[in-house]
């Protein structure tokens, strides 16, 4: 063993030939370069802003904005502050991205599966859909849906009427708004009870299956419960929910909840565009599960839908999820194209109007970018956690 008192060390190289020295030096230079670039950008910006008399700082956030926004999820009117417009833009961006992600996922999965249909017509139709909408710029598609399609809907006076309660016109879709009266709380309580009962039932069904082997149709029952119980409460309590049905008055419908066409067009375009990518991802995910896996599962006697649920989908998801999240990110970023048709998203409201009123470009652009960065980083983080959780154990 090495009980040598003076161990032989590999001789020391000449410093300029030592890769460690070189590496440290190189990195120092890199740090210096980046720091210098950063510093001079900062310095230039400061001095330019000063010499041009541009206001700096975030004080403007507390000033009154003074302009109206067509759609806002949170309470807003023109007497509120710029900080509020930031929140309005942010929530609108999150709304359109969230809905877009939801719809694009649904459409994407359907089309991706249709692509694998044994029906030639369906498969080719799915392919045609993908090839057409994937290869046309999103901005153009937004214009198309907004101006060329939704723009041709009739005006509010000639609105297409769905059962006299919901209306479709070029002002958007207007649906009745529920007005809760006394006793409506019971419906909520019934819903909560149904949810809890369903959860209990699913657990119980799983336990019973483990104990007796019998499979319990928990899913259909739970759905029935969640829908049925609140409905029951609704009638028992003597229908405590009134509906604010939109009515034509003056220029527009009043009452009800309106989904503005800008939102509609943006959602349509984002959904249809992103779904083409998701469809391809889904298809390749499913194809990546080798036919041997399906055959083995069938040979075990599993019925086809169980094969899907127990064998194919869990394996396909591993392949699907990572590229799927980057599509989600793309969709969120692409929602900034809202500015082209006037949907009041973050870029439109905050980086558009607010920036223009206050003139504080640097602060506002930085805040806007920070929002997108934060969204992106948190999704990446979740993604990494997921990936680690589902990584296949290998030798």
């Amino acid at each position: 063993m090495s009980s040598d008192p003076t161990p032989l060390k590999p001789g020391n190289p000449k410093p300029w030939n030592d890769p460690r020295v070189r590496s440290v030096a190189f990195q120092l230079i890199a740090i210096a370069a980046v720091a210098w670039i950063g510093y001079s950008l900062f310095q230039n910006t400061i001095s330019n802003m000063e010499s041009r008399g541009i206001r700096t700082g975030f004080g403007f956030l507390n000033e009154t904005a003074g302009f109206g926004i067509i759609m806002s999820l949170i309470d807003y009117n023109e007497t509120m502050t710029y900080a509020r417009t930031f929140l309005v833009g942010l929530t609108n961006t999150l709304l359109v991205s969230g809905l877009g992600i939801l719809f694009a996922t649904i459409v994407g999965f359907i089309v991706g599966i249709a692509r694998l249909s044994t029906n030639w017509l369906v498969a080719k139709l799915a392919l045609a859909y993908i090839e057409i909408f994937r290869n046309v710029p999103l901005l153009l598609q937004i214009f198309f849906w907004y101006f060329a399609v939704l723009g041709t809907l009739p005006g509010p006076r000639q609105a297409l009427d769905v059962g006299g309660v919901a209306f479709l016109s070029n002002r958007g879709i207007i649906i009745p708004r529920p007005v809760f009266e006394a006793g409506a709380g019971w419906i909520g309580i019934a819903l909560i009870i149904a949810l809890i009962a369903s959860a209990v039932m699913v657990t119980w069904a799983r336990r019973r299956q483990a104990a007796t082997g019998r499979i319990f149709p928990a899913f259909p029952l739970a759905s029935a419960l969640i829908l049925g119980l609140p409905a029951l409460a609704y009638f028992v309590m003597g229908r405590p929910v009134g509906w604010d049905i939109p009515a034509m008055g003056g220029f527009n419908f009043s009452g009800g909840i309106t989904a503005i066409p800008e939102l509609g067009a943006l959602l349509l375009a984002l959904t249809i565009y992103t779904a083409t990518f998701i469809a391809e991802i889904v298809r390749s995910g499913i194809v990546s599960v080798s036919s041997g896996q399906t055959e083995a599962a069938l040979a075990l006697g599993l019925p086809p839908r169980r094969v899907l649920r127990l064998v194919v989908i869990p394996q396909a998801l591993r392949v699907i999820i990572p590229p799927l999240t980057s599509q989600y990110l793309n969709l969120t970023k692409n929602s900034s194209l809202a500015v082209a048709i006037g949907y009041p998203d973050l870029v439109n409201v905050f980086m558009g109007t607010s920036l223009n009123q206050t003139g504080q470009a640097v602060e506002i652009v930085a805040m806007t970018m920070a929002v997108y960065l934060a969204i992106s980083l948190s999704i990446s983080l979740l993604m990494n956690i997921y990936n680690r959780a589902v990584a296949l154990k290998e030798r």
Binding site: S51, G66, G68, I70, G151, F251, T353, G359
Partner: protein, 315 residues
């Protein structure tokens, strides 16, 4: 200093609207025309002696101030309203007014509305980042009416939205409304309501803190107005050089040193007037009664003709 920079570059960078008939609009070979465009040309003629030495940079309303602040453009001439905030807190200076305007409403005749006070609940198309957007809010608030603001990033898109019936009313400066009306599928299906809800003095803007350049841009416009007042036109400017009216002489540079004290040649107004014309010519050419816009001088007539155009004297 901007004057020096422009002279060194041999070209004036001018921010204009990306398509507003009568004010700034490119034709399909890239030639820009409009009263805002001519304002820039006049500055270029004064500073560089060549009215064509301008690079026009189309900007959306939302981009314009940032572009000027950052130094991306030398002068902003993009039907921009002169307001306190803009003058004071954006680090900008308005050099004057090249068009006195007011905000109005364009409405579909079919709706049968004839007053802006009957617009309660209307959907209103407008352009992002404009005073229009703010005045609109004020007007409806003051009259206790509801409205729905449909905000587009270009005026052309807002007209498109109005045309598509996305909104009931299009609001903008009346001059623009006249221009936008011509772009409708059926220009006769809409009319401009009588109410003017705001004052909109539109004019060129420069960066704050560069007084030399501020003066140049300011006095080129004043010069054009004064030229109209003294009857100097692009036709007769040569002859006017031999005029013995001292006011005229100072304008055409045959007496006094107006150019020199501004940092320009003494006959800078000759370049401006011969190449671009006086204010009246500029007006008639771009927005006057013989153009598709067909606007009358109205407020924009000289003070001597019942308007409010009043330029300080060249002296």
């Amino acid at each position: 200093a901007t004057l020096q920079d422009v002279q060194d570059a041999g070209e004036l960078r001018c921010g204009v609207s990306n398509g507003l008939p009568g004010f700034s609009q490119p034709d399909s070979s890239g030639n820009w025309a409009g009263i805002d465009v001519d304002t820039c040309r006049a500055v270029a003629a004064a500073v560089l002696g060549d009215a064509d030495a301008v690079e026009f940079i189309p900007l959306t309303a939302a981009e314009r101030f940032t572009a000027l602040q950052s130094g991306e453009i030398d002068v902003l001439s993009r039907n921009t309203t002169w307001t306190t905030t803009r003058d004071a807190s954006l680090g900008l200076n308005f050099t004057g007014t090249n068009y006195y305007d007011g905000q109005g409403f364009l409405i579909k005749t079919a709706l049968g509305v004839d007053s802006a006070y009957d617009l309660d609940g209307a959907a209103v198309c407008t352009q992002a980042g404009t005073t229009t957007e703010l005045n609109l809010a004020d007007f409806f608030r003051a009259n206790d009416m509801e409205y729905e603001a449909v905000v587009f990033d270009t005026s052309e898109a807002s007209a498109q939205g109005f045309d598509n019936n996305r909104c009931d009313v299009l609001t903008s400066d009346t001059s623009q409304l006249a221009a936008l009306k011509t772009q409708l599928t059926d220009p006769d299906s809409a009319e401009i309501l009588p109410e003017i809800i705001s004052k909109e003095p539109l004019g060129p803007v420069v960066r704050q803190g560069d007084d030399e350049w501020f003066n140049v841009v300011k006095w080129v416009l004043f010069g054009q107005i004064n030229a109209e007042e003294y009857g100097i036109t692009s036709e007769n400017v040569e002859e006017m050089e031999s005029s013995d009216n001292p006011s005229v002489q100072r304008i055409v540079g045959t007496s006094g040193n107006m150019g020199e004290i501004l940092g320009l040649d003494d006959d800078f107004m000759v370049d401006v007037i011969s190449q671009v014309g006086n204010y009246g010519e500029m007006f008639e050419r771009n927005v006057g009664p013989d153009t598709p816009l067909g606007l009358n001088r109205g407020n924009n007539a000289l003070w001597t003709d019942g308007g409010i155009l009043y330029a300080p004297p060249f002296r």
